[in-house]
């Protein structure tokens, strides 16, 4: 069955607070630098820990592409997915994990910790985050009201005219 469009979804303060709590615990337990959550369409949701020194918008778009491409590689091998990915650098490394098929958890870590510890603690964090996001998506399902202010569209159109020429 086709849907008219991909449904909008929303991410609220209380969602953010609970998710940040899980990520902060994870960072403390593993001595990792930064944890980021990116949605599968390439949008940054949350950043916790040391503030990134890179462009977060570009990072989110490339993370989603990276994960999606690897998903397809998994299917070519007959695997349903690669649930986690690991990219090793000289000083810094990335560990990525799927959350509820809609979100990607990215952990940035360096030699203050080990891959083994990150992997070990990641399982628990992924389980907790999967439960939180599953509940969040269930809440937004069928809720067609996006909640933007009534005057939002008009003002946004004016800004478009200014930016792209009226």
């Amino acid at each position: 069955m086709t849907s008219p469009r991909a449904a909008s979804w929303s991410f609220h303060e209380e969602d953010s607070a609970r998710i940040r709590g899980v990520l902060l615990d994870f960072l403390r337990d593993t001595q990792s630098r930064t944890a980021l959550l990116v949605d599968r369409a390439g949008q940054m949701l949350v950043t916790v820990g040391e503030p990134p020194t890179f462009d977060p918008t570009a990072f989110a778009s490339l993370t989603a592409a990276d994960f999606s491409a690897n998903d397809q590689l998994a299917r070519l091998l007959g695997e349903p997915e690669f649930g986690t990915l690991f990219h090793q650098g000289e000083k810094e490394s990335l560990y990525l994990a799927d959350i509820a098929r809609r979100v990607i958890l990215v952990v940035l870590f360096d030699n203050r910790t080990t891959l083994g510890l990150v992997k070990l603690r990641m399982r628990g964090a992924v389980t907790e985050l999967t439960a939180l996001f599953t509940a969040l998506f269930a809440r937004d399902m069928g809720n067609s009201s996006s909640g933007v202010d009534a005057g939002f569209v008009g003002e946004a159109e004016d800004e478009l005219d200014k930016l792209f020429g009226g």
């Binding site: 849907s3 008219p4 991909a6 909008s8 949605d39 369409a41 778009s61 996006s146 939002f152």
Partner: protein
């Protein structure tokens, strides 16, 4: 799948430029990147081959500023046009809010245009999206070339329209962008809807912002 992030007070919308290879999708993004004020744009990322053909995608975030307390941003993506990159093309459509089909007006590219349009419909359907209900515009690029097909021929091939079953939408709707044309009208007793179209010469920027503005406004309306 526009995301409203109440926690960070952000709204992000995804627009994808689709179309046949060498049709001008990347050129559209490059022109936008060149002309938009530095404070309103992010980094232009191109995952391209050594010969500058798009391998995976180009990406450009454009900031609209803070509107009613929400930082509003459009994420512009292109897909690789070459036929054999379909897997990559399909991935980029995930979570799309609006589509620009960049057609190559040259007569000899008509078949490539048709193939790309069919591929767009197929890939959207496989994602579970209905292209006839999503913000969608077509750009006829390379209008300056001597071998450019007439607009009527391009419309007939690429924008024939679809039947409107919803009776509330069965009313004559003039095309705001092309004088004397209609987006919705009755043809031989059937109500037919077509998408807005734009003439362009993307290398010199003609029609680039008109196209982007139109699809962006359609996307904004879906948020309201």
């Amino acid at each position: 799948m526009s995301l409203i992030n109440y926690a960070s007070r952000e709204i992000n919308c995804k627009i994808v430029y689709y179309g046949p290879g060498l049709g001008g999708k990347t050129t559209n993004l490059e022109y936008v990147y060149e002309k938009v004020a530095p404070s309103s744009k992010g980094k232009l990322i191109s995952l391209a081959t050594e010969t500058e053909r798009t391998l995976f995608f180009d990406f450009l975030p454009v900031d609209l500023g803070t509107i009613r307390g929400f930082k509003t941003r459009f994420h512009l993506y292109t897909v690789p046009g070459q036929v054999y990159y379909n897997a990559s093309r399909k991935l980029i459509l995930k979570g799309v809010d609006g589509v620009v089909f960049v057609a190559d007006s040259q007569l000899e590219r008509m078949e490539a245009n048709l193939e790309a349009m069919q591929n767009l419909y197929d890939n959207m359907t496989q994602h579970g999206y209905d292209l006839t209900k999503l913000p969608f515009v077509i750009q006829y690029n390379k209008r300056d070339l001597p071998n450019a097909a007439p607009m009527a021929d391009l419309d007939a091939a690429l924008n024939p329209g679809w039947t409107v079953d919803d009776t509330t939408r069965q009313r004559v709707t003039p095309d705001p962008y092309r004088q004397g044309e209609y987006l919705v009208r009755e043809v031989d007793g059937m109500w037919v809807e077509r998408v807005p179209t734009f003439e362009a010469v993307a290398v010199r920027g003609d029609g680039v912002f008109d196209t982007l503005k139109a699809v962006s406004k359609l996307v904004l309306k879906t948020l309201g």
